[in-house]
Symmetry: C2
Subunit: 490 residues, 2 copies
């Protein structure tokens, strides 16, 4: 989902009454960022409070190349990484993830081994549908540690001709049951609905109802689900006692005219380190605790959730405490002044490359890259910057600006259209500030760079025959194991 896919973030269609209500009753962050410009690394970062370069959800194969967890990935979120769920479990919370997990294929990466007591969903992206001869099987759907179906098949159908599916409805119903079951004890629900990811599908009631086309139908479906969950919270009288966050794991798939979301005024989209790739919605809600209708402009990030939840719950990291990239947003959530936060910076990575750094309103691009010619030719992908051109900056090859970084003031120039003149004092002063933040960050990585989990693939690891497949007659023959170096080009 992109920054501007919601009415409360200015989407022209204004078709998201339930999420807009969340913003009216809570605090909306205008400068909120995903931890990475694609899904798996961003999700792993949210769960651990640590950027992909530390938690391992990246590849080392080629400098600056995006990688995500695929069904054949040999890696995943390592056991030694601590998730929010693990901290909350120690405090007696009941934890559940519903929907898209997507942080790896290691046994230790599995939700039930990462602090969640319950799991209903898939380890994979909603890739497919696949036929017998395809490289991948249709992704398995798990209930806890047993496979209960596959994407595209039976009750988890997605009809790509009509664009219909009841997936979001299924995730919603399960959320309502979980909340009902746990109304008398503390719980943590990670509702990872993935309707806005390719192949996008919506519940039949919403098909053809949006003025934005099919993507809009999907957003309406998602918004309806949020409305159901919030209504249940009130019905259970838990609303005064529950902290709710709504966000997105990366910018929109801007190359899809009918199937991608909106980055609004921002440059480019998902997979890039321009604002459109990582600036996303961020809404915090807790009646009588977090102010209603408040707007916050401080640069904030998915990695801030971990320390924020620690502060709210009194949870503690295990010893020895790992370095966290985020900070607790609690002070500003309860309306203390902006300067009660220590950090006002964002790191924009692409693979192993620290492409850009934002400090306050200033953003310096050390590297820039749009996409590769190879990716442009792949029908699954496309140009993340359609209709955009800025010579030497929006490029088809990884472009090194470290000798003279491209600087923008994001308040005056949110669209990153007008690079600041390097001859100005403002440029020099601000670049020095940003360089210092960068250097301190790079120093903090010493001894804390994770093993690159997304370097290798093994087709035998895909969900051919997970536990439980025999009970539903959905086992597939497992191919021979062969570990290969994964070549990434996006």
């Amino acid at each position: 989902m992109g920054y501007a896919d919601l009415g409360c973030y200015g989407n022209e269609a204004r078709e998201t009454p339930n999420i807009d209500k969340l913003a009216e009753e809570g605090t909306l962050f205008t400068d909120f960022y995903s931890a990475y410009a694609t899904c798996s690394p961003s999700r792993a970062s949210m769960l651990t409070g640590r950027l992909p370069i530390r938690n391992g959800l990246y590849t080392n194969n080629t400098f600056g190349v995006n990688a995500v967890d695929l069904p054949d990935s040999t890696g995943g979120l390592p056991a030694e990484e601590e998730t929010i769920a693990e901290v909350l479990a120690k405090l007696g919370y009941r934890n559940k993830v519903i929907g898209k997990w997507h942080v790896g294929n290691l046994d230790e990466s599995f939700p039930l081994n990462q602090g969640f007591h319950e799991f209903f969903g898939s380890k994979d992206n909603r890739m497919g549908p696949y036929t017998e001869d395809d490289y991948y099987p249709n992704p398995p759907v798990y209930r806890d540690n047993k496979m209960v179906g596959r994407y595209f098949e039976r009750e988890f159908f997605m009809d790509l001709d009509t664009g219909e599916s009841n997936m979001t409805r299924i995730w919603t119903e399960d959320a309502l049951v979980f909340m009902e079951e746990n109304k008398d004890n503390p719980f943590f629900l990670y509702w990872a609905a993935d309707g806005t990811h390719t192949p996008i599908v919506a519940y039949k009631d919403f098909l053809g109802t949006s003025e934005r086309g099919h993507y809009g139908d999907v957003v309406r479906d998602l918004d309806f689900g949020v409305g159901q969950i919030m209504a249940k919270l009130t019905e259970l009288d838990l609303h005064k006692d529950t902290f709710v966050f709504f966000g997105s794991d990366n910018g929109p798939a801007g190359w899809k005219p009918l199937k991608g979301g909106s980055a609004g005024p921002f440059l480019c989209s998902k997979t890039t380190t321009f604002e459109g790739g990582m600036r996303v919605p961020g809404i915090f809600w807790w009646p009588d605790v977090i102010p209603a209708g408040k707007i916050q402009r401080i640069p904030t990030n998915l990695v801030d959730l971990f320390p924020t939840i620690l502060e709210i719950t009194g949870g503690q990291q295990s010893e020895p405490k790992k370095v966290l990239d985020g900070q607790s947003l609690w002070p500003i959530l309860i309306d203390q002044p902006a300067n009660s936060l220590k950090k006002d910076h964002i790191f924009y990575y692409r693979g192993t490359g620290l492409y850009a750094v934002r400090v306050g309103q200033y953003k310096a691009h050390y590297w820039s890259w749009n996409t590769s010619p190879q990716a442009l030719e792949d029908p699954k992908y496309g140009d993340p910057c359609p209709g955009v051109c800025q010579a030497g900056f929006i490029t088809m090859e990884q472009t090194d600006h470290r000798d003279e970084p491209v600087l923008f003031h994001l308040g005056r120039d949110p669209g990153e259209k007008f690079p600041m003149d390097p001859a100005t004092e403002e440029y020099q002063t601000q670049l020095a500030i940003i360089n210092a933040v960068r250097d301190e960050h790079l120093k903090s990585l010493e001894g804390d760079v994770g093993y690159p989990q997304l370097d290798y693939a093994d087709r035998s690891l895909c969900g051919w025959a997970p536990p439980g497949c025999d009970e539903i007659d959905m086992c597939l023959p497992v191919p021979e194991s062969e570990v290969v170096l994964k070549e990434w080009y996006i």
Copy 2:
């Protein structure tokens, strides 16, 4: 002001609490358009309910070239054009225009000859400052029919070094006095504050306060003025009895990194017929009559104000009635269904050229043009489409697409990035619908094309020595009269 310069239209800075409140208490239109992509033609159209091609605020010198009223223009809004003010005057309303008039230099174009009883402001754009040797004098400021000062001089100062001016404050104070004086009789106030036009300036209290830079300071200044006016309306107990509209006469000056506004997700800016040139804010307010917090998605336009106000007031056009381009929005303002309106189309002109037509969600570009190489070289102007490129569509020459118009679905693709495939049935069907609307419109122009008022210039017409200049010692020597053909290049 651009579409996305207000918090209620998604601006990230959210620095417009007063105008946002207007939207919360009233109805916000997401698909509202200026009548033209630059100021004078758009204003003349709002006042008359008729497009520039009819009311004459265009040039015939070169096909498709923008023109605006300049201090030396020999033409202006003709006497035979009827303004909203003239209709309201017949109903006993007291009418006043404050701020920027800007529809011509003919005597008959003067506000007091176009239905307004009072005038405080300038006939001209805020161009300047000029010195003795310049082609133009500093624009005179009038109170009714007497000059009371000049822009950039004395109380109408604008300090271009500091960006400070009290102009918006002056327009605001005058509005408050007018409302107070007329609280017991019907009045029409056209508050044409021009702070967001170059050279942009803000009241000292706001200098340096915006996160958007100086342009943001100016928007905050304007927003404060709106707040003052709305507070006075309530103080005078007129709020239940007053129809309020807030809008803009064209898109933002997008070529100015620090001094131009935001078109949000839309393509390009002011002077163009892409969405960024003409999609603007449109907010309607009338407590207990117009629903609060309502969003309307119907394509609507500044030319709709004239017939809307006729319907509200029971006013009548003079006979023989001229053709109006707009329609009364009253049915949807009082929340009747969308189909209670007959029209759902927008005409995008550039000079004499009908460049594009929108019907429903579909927009066909018959011609496209960014700007001329000449304009690019003029330091006053620049590229209205910075950082944007679409070969054959965003062009430096007027490009004829009439054989195969470039079609977009603005709901699915608000940024006009993905032209529809002409081979599709959808393209063919929708183009036929749009062509029919275009043809009907062109037919309605027969016998109703106005004399091109902006073809000629005469430097002696500039405000050298208006009535009253002697009383304030501000007369300047009037140069000899010489009528010259005006060469427009933007």
